[in-house]
Assembly symmetry: D2
Homo-oligomer: 401 residues x 4
Amino acid sequence: MIEHGTAKRDARARPMLGANPAMRRAWLAHNTGVVLDAIAQTAFTPEEVRGSVENLVGAVHVPLGICGPIRVNGEYADGWYHVPFATTEGTLVSTYQYGMRAIDEAGGANTYVVADALDITPCFILRDTRSALALAQWLRTHLAELAAIAAETTAHGHLTDVRPHVFGRRVFAQCVFDTGDAMGMNMTNLAVDRVCARVREAVECERHYLRCNYSSDKKPAAIGLFRPYGKEVAVDVTLPGDVVRQHLGVDPLELMECSATGRLGSMQAGALGVNAHFANGLAAIYIACGQDVAQVVNASIGFLDMELLDGDRLYVAARLPNLVVGTVGGGTLLPTQRECLELMDCRGDGTARRFAEIVAATLIAGELGILAALADGRFIEAHRQNRLLAARATTGSPAQT
Amino acid sequence: MIEHGTAKRDARARPMLGANPAMRRAWLAHNTGVVLDAIAQTAFTPEEVRGSVENLVGAVHVPLGICGPIRVNGEYADGWYHVPFATTEGTLVSTYQYGMRAIDEAGGANTYVVADALDITPCFILRDTRSALALAQWLRTHLAELAAIAAETTAHGHLTDVRPHVFGRRVFAQCVFDTGDAMGMNMTNLAVDRVCARVREAVECERHYLRCNYSSDKKPAAIGLFRPYGKEVAVDVTLPGDVVRQHLGVDPLELMECSATGRLGSMQAGALGVNAHFANGLAAIYIACGQDVAQVVNASIGFLDMELLDGDRLYVAARLPNLVVGTVGGGTLLPTQRECLELMDCRGDGTARRFAEIVAATLIAGELGILAALADGRFIEAHRQNRLLAARATTGSPAQT
Amino acid sequence: MIEHGTAKRDARARPMLGANPAMRRAWLAHNTGVVLDAIAQTAFTPEEVRGSVENLVGAVHVPLGICGPIRVNGEYADGWYHVPFATTEGTLVSTYQYGMRAIDEAGGANTYVVADALDITPCFILRDTRSALALAQWLRTHLAELAAIAAETTAHGHLTDVRPHVFGRRVFAQCVFDTGDAMGMNMTNLAVDRVCARVREAVECERHYLRCNYSSDKKPAAIGLFRPYGKEVAVDVTLPGDVVRQHLGVDPLELMECSATGRLGSMQAGALGVNAHFANGLAAIYIACGQDVAQVVNASIGFLDMELLDGDRLYVAARLPNLVVGTVGGGTLLPTQRECLELMDCRGDGTARRFAEIVAATLIAGELGILAALADGRFIEAHRQNRLLAARATTGSPAQT
Amino acid sequence: MIEHGTAKRDARARPMLGANPAMRRAWLAHNTGVVLDAIAQTAFTPEEVRGSVENLVGAVHVPLGICGPIRVNGEYADGWYHVPFATTEGTLVSTYQYGMRAIDEAGGANTYVVADALDITPCFILRDTRSALALAQWLRTHLAELAAIAAETTAHGHLTDVRPHVFGRRVFAQCVFDTGDAMGMNMTNLAVDRVCARVREAVECERHYLRCNYSSDKKPAAIGLFRPYGKEVAVDVTLPGDVVRQHLGVDPLELMECSATGRLGSMQAGALGVNAHFANGLAAIYIACGQDVAQVVNASIGFLDMELLDGDRLYVAARLPNLVVGTVGGGTLLPTQRECLELMDCRGDGTARRFAEIVAATLIAGELGILAALADGRFIEAHRQNRLLAARATTGSPAQT
C-alpha cells in the first residue's frame, strides 16, 4: 500500500480537524498501517490540551529522572530543590547530580536575577531613511501612550521601552516588556499588535510586520549576548579544594585547566557564549516543566568561567542572559508538567524568578559534573557503562552501535 | 516543613540510586509534599528506559499532534508523510500544516542529503607550538591506523578524517565520522577515546581531553555554518503564484518581501543563519521521535531564502547544515517515540537519511506557514483565537495572561 | 654581515631614542646595508610629528588620488565634495568615482548622523558576584559624580553614560562619551583613568584594568552591530532607472540581484554586517586624512541594502554604526593630512560630523561602483587594464604576476 | 564661493582623467580654494604609481618609526629584524618596542607558516538545487582542467582546490590558490574569471558573479576563523619570569591575569578572535610596506593566549590565520615602501613568508607591550606623556582635547 512515503495520496483530502484523537489514530492506522497504542495513553484529557496543540493524537512519554536536591542561595529560590529532568540521554541526570552534590557541600550556589525582560520587534517600512528616522523619533516620544495601549491587552505584561533601530527605510522597533510570571510570548504578540495599529494610525507607513527576526526568539544570534531575554541570571559558587577533590574527583587546578581548554575551543569555533552543555540541562528541564522547548536555542547562549583563588579554592561563575521561562499558562498547566513545577514550588504567580534561579544553579552543577568527568577521564567510563545498561534494556538487540 | 526550598535538608543523605520509581515518588512526596500521580503513568517499563535516564520517577506526557501529510521528493524520502509534533505551543501544528498543504499543491519539496558526518574534537596539550605541529602532522599521516582503531569499537561508525587545528601548544583534533543511522554521539565518544589512547602511546603529550567545545555539540557557534554536522540537507520548492494565493492567502511578492525583512532583521541581530522558526519544528519532532533535544541548538542554524521567478512563481530554498538525527538506539527505542518514527517509516537501520529529508521538508513548510501569517496579519489572529481555546481549557483560571 | 636576519645582534644595545631621524637612518644603513633615501623626504619636520610616532626615520609616501565631487545632502555636509584617497590599489579611485557620478545624477546621497558616541570599558575585579552587582548599582547611581570627574580632564569629551555588565566577580563598566570633533580615544582613556581612581576610592576592589577588549576598539566584534561607536551614519539615495543604466551601465534589477547574491554570500560566511568593500574606501580616506587607520576594522562593520521600487528605481541604503573619525589633534595636524581635510572643509572644530557624512556617502558610492562592475563583468576588465598600466610602470619587470 | 560643500557645482563636468597631478592640484585650488603644497612633494614619479592610483594629485606623508630589532626564529625569518611602522598614533612604536625587547631577551619568537592560500568565490546561479548540486559535482571532478585554465593567466598562482557550497539554486564556488610571493588578489581575479568562462561553456547557468562576499576579503566574517586566508602563521615564545619582570615591569601572573580579563571581554563582546590590538601593528606595517591596507580587517582576526608554566614562566602563543601579505607587485614597488621591505630583506621573490613571520612575531610583541602597560597602569602614563609631546608639537594649539 505505502509505495511512496507512508501516507496514501488520497488521504490528503480527508479533513482531520473535526476529529477526536481516537478517530485520528484510527485514520492514521488505516492510512499508514501504524497503530499508535502507546501514544494513546495520556495523563491529560483532550480538553486540557486544547490551546496547546492541534490535531491531537495522544502523548509522547518522556522518561523523567530527578536530580538533586541542589542548594540555591537566591533572592527567590532559597533552600534545597529537587529538579526534574525529562530526557532520553543516559548519564545526563547523574552528571548534573555530581555537580549538585559538590555545590551543596560548598554551601550552595548564589543566584541573582539581574534583569527580567522580553522583547519582540515589529518592523515598519516607510518611504526613505528620513521618514524612518522621523518614526523613530515619534516612537521615542510616545512611549507612555504606547505602554497604555499595550496595557489594555494584558494585566501581567508591561511595555517598558521601545528602542527603534533604523536601517534604510525600515524601523526595527524593539518593544521591551516586563512579563511577570508568564513566559510572555503570546501576551507580547497581542500587545505589540495593538501598538503597531496605533503607529499605523499616527504615521504614514507603507507596511509593517509584527515580527522580523531582530529579537531572534528561538534563533542563535549575537543579540543574545547584549540584552536580557527572559530572565538574566548570574550565579556563582566558591568550592573549597577538598570539596572538589572529594565530590568531583579531581583537583581544582585540573578542573580549571579543563575549563580553560574548552574556552579556547569555543573561541576557535566562533561560539556565542562559552559553556560545556547548558543546553542539555535546559532541554531536560524545559520538557519536564512545560516550557517552550525551542527557546533552549536562546537560553543556551551563556558563559561559564572558573578561576583558582588562593591556589586551591575554585571560583565558578555563570552568566545566563537569555533564560526564558514561565510558570503560568501554556504547557505549565498540563498534569505531568504541573507536578514537575510543584516539586520546586514553582507553579503559578510569583514563582518565575524562583524557577529561573533554580535552573541557573542547576546549569552550573551540570558544568561541574561534565568538566570533572572530562578532566579525569570518567566521562567515557560513564558513557561506556551506560551503553551496557542500554544494551540490556533492549532485548534481542545487541549493544554494538 | 519546607521552610527553605522544597526539599528537607536531612533528606540529602538518603540514597535514591538503589530505589525504584515508586519508592522515589514516595520519598519525594514525603520530602516535598508533592504527589507525582500523573507522572507515575508511563507507557514504558523501568527496564525499557534503563540506559536512558537515571533516578527515574515516571514520565512527562507531551501532547502529540499530527501534521501533514507533506509530500517529499527526496532520494530517501519519496512520497507523503505524516509528521508527529510533540508540543505545548498552540498554533504550531496548524502553522506547519498550512505550509505543508501549499507544498503538496506545488508538487512536493525536493530534498537532498548533501553531506553526512559527525565530528568530535579532542584536544591534546603539548610542550609548545613546534611539538603541536608535529602531532598535527602525525595525525595527518596516521589516519588509516586511527580509523582501524576506531573501527574496533563500533561496526556502524567510521572515522573518515582527522583535521588538526593548532593553537599554541594545543592540537584540536577534529575527528570526523560517518555514523550511519545512529545519531552517533556515544559511538564517536567511545571511538575517539581509543584514538586518543593510541595518540598518547605514540606521541609525548602533557595531557588531553576527549572533548573541548570545538565541535560545539549543542552550542550555538559559527562552526555550524562551515561544516556539516549530522545530515546536511538542501531543500527547494517552486510554488506557482496561484498556490501561494490560494493556500497561503498572500501574493508571492508579499511573502518574499516579508521574508526579505526577516533577513534584514537576522543580519542586524548577528544571527547564525537566517530563518523564522526552524527551532519550533525541530523541537517538536525531536521530542516526539526520541532525538537528543538539546541538539536543536545546532540544528536550528540554517538558512531560508525566497526569490520571485518570472514575476509570479515563488522559489523557496533552505540549507540545513546541522541536522543531527538518529533512528536507532537511545530514545528512538521507547514505545511512544518508536511509534512516531514508524509513522514515517523511519525506524531502525537504513532510515536516518529519510528522516532527515522529512524533517527538512517540514521545516520549509513551517517557514511558509509563519511568513504567510506574518505577511497578512493572520499571525496574531491565530494566536488570539488560540488563547481563547486555552482559556476555556483551564477551568476557573481566566485567560488574561 | 647579515647572516641572520637584517640586523646585527650587537646593534641591539645601541640606544636609538635620543637620536634624530638622520642618525637613525645612518645607524640602520650601517646595520642593515639599506639606505633610506626616499623615506628621508618628509613634508613635516620632526617637531611636527613628535607625539605621533617614536623612533622617527622619515615618511612613507602613499599615492593620493582624488574622487568626486560627490554630492552630499546631509545636515553637516551639504554640497559637493572632493574626496582624497591614499591608496596603492589600482582601480579603487575609479570604482568609487563611477558611483559618485551616479549619485550626483540622482541628486546626491542623503546622510544622517544618527548617533555620536565612543565608549571604553574598564574592568573591575571584586570578591564575588554579590559585590560585583553592588558596584554595578553604585555606578548607576553615581553617573553625575563620575561625569564631573571625567570633565576635569577634558573640555571636549563628556561622559554621558556608564553601563555596567556583570560576569562573575567582574564588572565591565562601559563608559560612554560624547567626544565632539576629536576621535577621542586619548581623551577617553585619560578621563576613564580618573573615573577608575574614584571608583577604587569608593569601593573595595581587588584590581582593575583600564581596558579589557569589551568595547572592541580595532577588533572585529558583534558589539559593533548593537551600539554606535564613533559616528553612526545612515545614508540613502534613490537612483532613477535611467541614471543606473547610463552611469553604472547596468539595469537596476541587475544591480539589485548582484547585491542580493552578495548578501547571501555574507550570510553564509558569518559576516558582521553586509557590504562589498566599505573597508577599501575607509582605508584610503583614513590614511589620507590622518585618522587612526586600525579603526578601519570597526568602521568596516556596516550594512548596505538595495531594493527595487516601482520596478525601475533603485533604492540604496547604508547603515554605518561604527564610523570613528576625528578632525582635530593627532594625525590630522600633519601637513599633507591637513590639506586633505581642508579639501573637504573638514579641518578643526565643528567638522567631524561633516567628515563622517562625506565618508558615509563615499562608501555608498563605492558599493554602487563595484556592484555595477561585478554585475556586468566590467570588474575584471578594469583590473586587467590596470595590470597593463602597472606593468608599464615597473620598467624591466614583466607584468605577469 | 563655496556656499555648498567645497566644490563648485559646474566643476563636475570638467574631466580630470587626462590631466597630470599639477593640473589637478591647480584645478582643485581653483575650485575649492585649497592649495595642496605639501601633497605635491612625492618620492615617486607619476609613472611609478600608474596602475596604483587614479586621478593622482601627489602623496600623503605618513610618519615612519622603526621598531626592533626583534628576534625571530622561523623557517623563513631567522635572526633580528627592524620593523617599520607608518603611523600617527603616539606610543604605538614604543609599546611594540617593549615587547620586542622582552622577546629578544627570551631568545626570540618562534614562528611557523602553517598554511598559505588565498581564495575567492564566484557564485553561479542555476535553475534549482538539483542543477546546483550537479554543478558542484562537476566542479569537484574537473579541478585539474580548471587548474590548467587558471595557470594560463599566471605563472605564480596555482589553483589548488575548488570547494562548492550549495544554497538553493546557487553554487558558491570557493576557488583556493597558492599565490606565492604576491598578495595575489589581482592574479586570482583574472584566473577565476577564466575559470568562470569555462564553467559557463560547460554547464547551463542563468548567470554568475566573479565575487559574492563569501571569501569575505576585507570584511569581518567568521569564515576567517576556519580557513587560512593569505598566510596562516603560528607564533609562540616562553618568557622566563625574570625577563617579564625586568623588561615588561610586571609579574608573569599579573600579565596572564590581565590577558585573561581581556579574553572575557572579547567573549562578552562577541569578538572574532581574541587579541588586544593586532590591528595597530598590522595597519602601521601594511601602510609602510605597500600592502593593501583594507586587508587589516581580515588580518586582525586572530588569537592570543597566555599560560603560566611551572608557576613563573609565561607561555605566549598566537594564531594568525588571515595574514594577507605580498612582497612583489602593487604598492611594494614604490620607493619608500620598497625601502621598508628591504630593511627586512623582504623585497621580491621568495620573501613573502619571511615577511609574514616577521609581522606575526611583531604582533605578539605588541600584545606583550600593551598588556604589560595595562597590567601595571603604565598604559595611561605613556599616553599622558605623549599628549604633552603632542601639545608642544602643535604650536599655538593647547593640548587640551
